[in-house]
């Protein structure tokens, strides 16, 4: 497990979060799944391809991501196969064949991952590792060292719709940061406003910062992300200035109770969406 994780990869996932003593603020890179098309009108099956990468510029490949972590859910709520998967250095790619009409979710599972580290005696850098459970990590740490384990619940998602938008694939899971009900990511149009609710473990994600960044940031002097804060209902309102693809991201961190095996939980949510011409 430890061998599989390169230092670079660790950096992407939780750059600052491992620092043993100081508190972590933000992930180093934005992560995204970008569809070749979010709106489909075929009556037969139609192929859609996806790029999956992490980068600072939106949407330009920088670090490939693990395709095995992606689940595609059909409009009826069934898991469908990713095909032609490929992992390069800068991006990962997969296709899906959209047969049913309705809305598909393409995203990571949202299951927790655990990142940990300990400071060996006399060392000036911590040893870092990641695992599926906190216990697994702790069992690998030498006895009596200063250590910490952080739980990370992250989601990276996009939605595509063939024909009429449907809601089954959008049903919240109640775990981590995710979209609430009432907002459909394939119902976004330039020049119009939408209200988007975020949930944290099934409850309105109050007072959380949400960043919205339009594509083609490479060709602007500024990233020009719009920073919004959710209200008591966990909602933000955003007026989509122009047609194009956008990345919506939110992060939240909570301190674990004393009894918990982890020190913190970091929640993150990344949603790629398209604002269409009205």
């Amino acid at each position: 497990m430890i061998k599989n994780i390169t230092a670079k990869k660790m950096t992407i996932f939780f750059c600052a979060c491992i620092s043993l003593l100081s508190c972590h603020q933000a992930f180093a890179h934005k992560r995204w799944i970008l569809a070749s098309s979010n709106t489909l009108s075929s009556t037969e099956a139609e192929w859609v391809t996806f790029d999956y990468s992490a980068s600072n510029d939106i949407f330009y490949f920088d670090h490939s991501m693990d395709v095995n972590g992606v689940i595609a859910t059909s409009p009826k709520g069934q898991k469908i196969d990713l095909q032609n998967t490929f992992k390069g250095k800068l991006r990962s790619v997969f296709d899906i064949e959209a047969k049913e009409a309705g809305t598909y979710k393409i995203g990571t599972s949202g299951n927790p991952l655990y990142f940990g580290g300990y400071m060996p005696d006399g060392a000036d850098k911590p040893v870092r590792m990641r695992g599926e459970s906190a216990e697994e990590l702790l069992s690998k740490f030498p006895k009596g060292v200063k250590s910490r384990v952080t739980r990370v619940l992250g989601r990276i998602e996009t939605f595509i719709t063939k024909g009429e938008p449907t809601w089954t694939a959008l049903k919240p899971s109640g775990k981590g940061l995710e979209l609430g009900e009432g907002f459909h990511p394939n119902e976004v149009y330039a020049g119009e406003s939408t209200t988007i609710q975020l949930l944290l473990n099934g409850k309105p994600a109050k007072n959380i910062e949400v960043l919205i960044t339009a594509e083609s940031s490479r060709y602007r002097n500024q990233l020009t992300s719009k920073t919004l804060k959710t209200n008591d209902e966990g909602e933000i309102s955003y007026h989509w200035p122009i047609a194009g693809r956008y990345l919506l991201e939110a992060e939240h961190e909570t301190k674990s109770p004393e009894s918990d095996i982890t020190t913190h939980t970091i929640y993150s949510y990344f949603l790629t969406l398209e604002s269409r011409l009205p």
């Binding site: 009108s41 075929s42 009556t43 139609e46 938008p165 149009y189 269409r276 011409l277 009205p278």
Partner: protein
């Protein structure tokens, strides 16, 4: 069906039907271009809330590209089963086309006929011609497209 029944019932009870006849003329302009594909065109009626209330015509080739008629797809196409009887049909080459339509199914109110045209390796253009029901005297409305549509003329007779 239920809505239709309700409508007819209301029509009988309250309002004698004043269906207006629409003579719609659309021209598809000639393009000076090496690669020419006939445009996909949608013509429909929207109410004063931009809701599509009736499709008049959709000229297209492949369903895959119907979504490029972006407004029509949003307002009507994605809710329909393609092909739509009497509405969808093949694309038309440059020239003038006439469609006769009747507003029998619409209650009084403010509407617009919307024309949307989109062409492969070309552009997209949308024109709206507003009208109000009932119609008392014959009127003619027209507009001149700039890119993907030519002259549009609609004569409405009570």
């Amino acid at each position: 069906m239920k809505n239709l029944l309700t409508f007819f019932t209301i029509s009988l009870l309250i309002q004698p039907s004043f269906a207006a006849s629409f003579n719609i003329n659309v021209s598809i302009p000639k393009m000076k271009t090496a690669e020419y594909h006939a445009p996909y065109v949608a013509i429909w009626v929207e109410n004063n809330e931009s809701k599509a209330v009736e499709d008049i015509a959709v000229w297209h080739e492949k369903n895959k590209w119907l979504k490029d008629l972006r407004t029509w797809w949003r307002r009507s196409g994605r809710y329909a089963t393609i092909p739509i009887d009497g509405i969808t049909g093949p694309t038309r080459r440059p020239g003038q086309y006439t469609i006769n339509w009747n507003s029998a199914e619409l209650p009084d109110g403010n509407y617009a006929i919307v024309f949307e045209s989109v062409r492969e390796v070309g552009g997209r253009e949308k024109i709206k011609l507003p009208f109000t029901l009932p119609i008392k005297n014959t009127i003619t409305k027209s507009a001149q497209g700039k890119t993907e549509l030519g002259e549009i003329r609609v004569s409405i007779e009570p």
